[in-house]
Symmetry: C2
């Protein structure tokens, strides 16, 4: 499905408009404090596959949402994602030097600046989601802010990172690994999809439930494929340090299930995610295409 030219064109279009919207929403590099603003732009612009913005736009398309609203929603989620990468790469966390094919923020600038960049990008995410209307009512918009906070905080993404910290060198079973990833990666991916849908007004309860199930499966799929790629690819094509999780004794789907079984699990999640959306018809095409893209991506 993602080989169809219109899907590829749609993807490139969303990636481009996300880049443009982020460049507009981020403070100018000439505005004081300049070094912080330069570093925020360095972290957020010119890289990344923009998977979360793509998912937000695809879900928003399904719900008939306005594209300008979706740009803000997509940027809010992407800013949370980028902040988490900047902090995750710090020496006291994963201590990584390469991200999206460039030196990480603390390497290019310094640790204190990287800390503040992450902090300020998180603040900007909530700023962007609160500042202008992104839903039909202000009440819905408040619910969206709550949803983003739940997905990002200690019971979501940040909590997943804490579980990850506690897991280094330990043997996790499959249930524990899944619990970690549902928080660390899954929560924000699911939020991207639901926030995109909330920006529109066209979905009934059954459709929202299907979308939510799709979101959960995509969150897991994303991580399983990440673990497979981390095993197979080299650092140059990956744009970040390859094989790192395994080297650090972190559990991965590949270390737990083996490569063959991990691949089969990915195919199973892909099929389930696409099937869930089948009753929604043509409007779900982009979401189904993204599920396939996430599975087949090779960077």
């Amino acid at each position: 499905m993602n080989h169809r030219p219109d899907f590829a064109r749609w993807m490139a279009d969303i990636q481009q408009r996300t880049e443009t919207a982020l460049a507009e929403l981020l403070p100018a590099a000439t505005q004081a404090p300049q070094r912080l603003h330069q570093a925020m732009r360095y972290a957020a612009l010119g890289g990344g596959k923009r998977v979360r913005p793509l998912l937000a736009h695809a879900a928003g398309h399904l719900a008939g949402a306005d594209a300008a609203r979706l740009d803000r929603v997509a940027c809010a989620v992407e800013l949370v994602h980028v902040y988490s990468l900047v902090h995750d790469d710090l020496p006291c966390m994963d201590d990584d030097v390469l991200r999206r094919g460039k030196p990480t923020v603390h390497v290019e600038y310094d640790e204190a600046t990287a800390l503040l960049v992450g902090d300020a990008l998180q603040t900007l995410a909530f700023h962007v989601l609160a500042e202008q209307p992104v839903a039909d009512t202000a009440e819905t918009q408040l619910a969206m802010l709550t949803l983003l906070a739940t997905a990002s905080g200690s019971r979501g993404m940040a909590g997943g990172q804490a579980i990850d910290l506690g897991a280094v060198g330990r043997q996790l079973d499959r249930a524990e690994l899944e619990f970690m990833h549902i928080h660390k990666t899954g929560a924000l991916i699911r939020a991207a999809i639901l926030l995109g849908a909330h920006a529109g007004a066209g979905l009934n309860e059954d459709e929202m439930a299907r979308l939510d199930h799709y979101g959960k499966q995509i969150g897991l799929l994303f991580q399983v494929v990440d673990d497979i790629l981390d095993t197979e690819a080299d650092t140059a094509t990956l744009g970040k340090t390859a094989g790192k999780d395994a080297d650090q004794g972190k559990p991965t789907y590949v270390s737990l299930l083996g490569l063959g079984e991990a691949r089969r699990y990915a195919e199973e999640l892909l099929a389930d995610a696409c099937d869930t959306l089948e009753p929604l018809g043509e409007r779900a095409t982009y979401l189904q295409g993204l599920a396939e893209y996430i599975t087949r991506r090779s960077f």
Copy 2:
């Protein structure tokens, strides 16, 4: 004014209800991930003068706001403040070991946990402000979220910290020092006051302008007094490492103006802040009392 028994009682009451509200809003230490939640509670509970919550409640009293709403507003601002302290104490920033009379979070736990604690406390601040009604309309609440984000982000508090980083070992003039503090400390203090007022509905444009002027002066006053205390007090009474800014070659009001002139400046700011509120009558008593408390505090 703050020697009057009813003011002292009011202060103790707000400090107590802020502690109770924070304890309820923070995730339970028994909830997974336990270590992160324990560390968040360690950082946020059982310490601090709760200056920002006091200001939010005092401004809310002026605007006739509901006390339960003000608890949420006060906690949101305090959570931003606490997150900034946890990150500010990290080795890559001020590298401090003592805060509010206890070991800092990265000393008591570890650096990675302290990083995530700060991240998750910031998220919780926005969560708390979005989740339940805290204003008469959802539109006002969105404006309050935007205000908190503006005050906390790269053009507010986090920006002030970046300016501070760039100022170590440099000679700042008074205008530069003021610019730094308006961002680093002033923005969030001013936000506490305005957010408290927005939780009510009783203020006209002139009253809001007076409150905003009061907020600006209080923000500066707070920092001038901090610098004076940092020179005069020892570590035990201060509850944090004394004389640190001067030792690190950071500019302070005392190093710039001398102790006598810094004291005179504090008295000038106090008088101006109280005078501004004079036309508001009895309702402004708590705000005026807090201005005096901030000036006379000796920890």
